[in-house]
Amino acid sequence: MANSAEIARALLTSAREGPALASCTVMGATDDVDVALGAKMLVYADRLLGDLGGGPLETAVITFARDAIPRHLVQTCAFTPSGELVEGRRAIEAADAIVEVLVEVVEPAATLLVVGGGHVGLAVGQLGAMLGMDVAIIDDREDYANAERFPYEAQVICGDFAEELKRFPIDANTYIVLVSRGHKVDELALRTVAERGAGYVGMIGSKRRTRTVLQHLAEDGVDRDELDKVFTPIGLDIGAETPEEIAVSVLGEIILVRRGGGAQPMSEYGRFLATTRR
């Protein structure tokens, strides 16, 4: 059994530096279930810290938690003591015995890597910083890649795109936005990052131009499945015009990828007056 101090240190390390883990806490149980309220288990991709007392419940929570990590999930789930996931309020109320477990992914802030320090890159970085992401901006022109240009916390990198991008660490928690000065640079950048397992790669440009870029890279042997995952043209369709509006559209898309959602106005999910008037 891991003690609270070990658990606290492990949570802090994962929140600051990674690796991502799913923290599982028993928050409720019907009287007849033998499990301690507050029991904690940290589930990493490849190991565990702490336990929920073993048995089928623990096994089920571990499986659920491992699956939660790539989805950045934070959710309280109900399990039967024999390890079945029970979903929906009615099913939970109808069940004889239930254990409630909060499964919450703990990981460092996501990285937003902005390729291109122009007007759009400036706004995308600003919004990313506002959303609590660690922002990095790369450009090869000193006028567009200097600390004074970015009035928010960002790592500003001035240098050759290909070289700097090769050096930049990329993982599933890295979100890459290609908004450089032209599609030649975007193509070069995409070639460098496409196959490195980023959580998101989006590239600005018209349908025609972005298709040409994808075609070039496919012909050059870049993995087609990876190219298929690129969000291009970039952003949600909200009619964005200005750099700031485009930033909202791009970060909206990134939130959608990260959290899931329907990408519709919430009101579309239930038009109260429209349905009652009829």
């Binding site: 606290a8 802090l12 928050m27 409720g28 959710q75 309280t76 409630e100 909060l102 990981e107 460092p108």
Partner: protein
């Protein structure tokens, strides 16, 4: 959302041998100021780190946290934000279930 401040405060308290109460939003229904996983850590002197949602119900949860530090009993607290206070509707209008537990090294 990383909770580094809460985890750091927890680690620091444990290094000094002090217990803490941790309040974590377990579930929300309707419109609530913070969502599942939001945390507030309360120390024995009543100081706290993190938030489970500003004014809406936080004072109530703080009191439960202080009680938990005293008796050591983990508990689930339901905060109902749908009832009017002082003749005004609370702005949030949802229900939060908050798990409060005492933790010590």
């Amino acid at each position: 959302m990383p909770h580094d401040e809460v985890f750091e405060a927890m680690s620091t308290a444990f290094e000094g041998g002090a217990p803490v109460a941790l309040a974590t939003v377990a579930q929300t229904l309707g419109s609530t100021p913070r969502k599942t996983g939001a945390k507030m850590l309360v120390r024995e002197d009543g100081s706290f780190v993190g938030t489970i949602g500003g004014g809406c119900g936080e004072a109530e949860v703080w009191q439960e946290a202080m009680d938990t530090l005293e008796d050591g009993e983990a508990r689930m607290v339901t905060v109902d934000l749908t009832e009017p206070v002082d003749g005004e509707d609370k702005i949030c209008g949802g229900v939060m279930r908050i798990f409060v537990e005492k933790l010590e090294a």
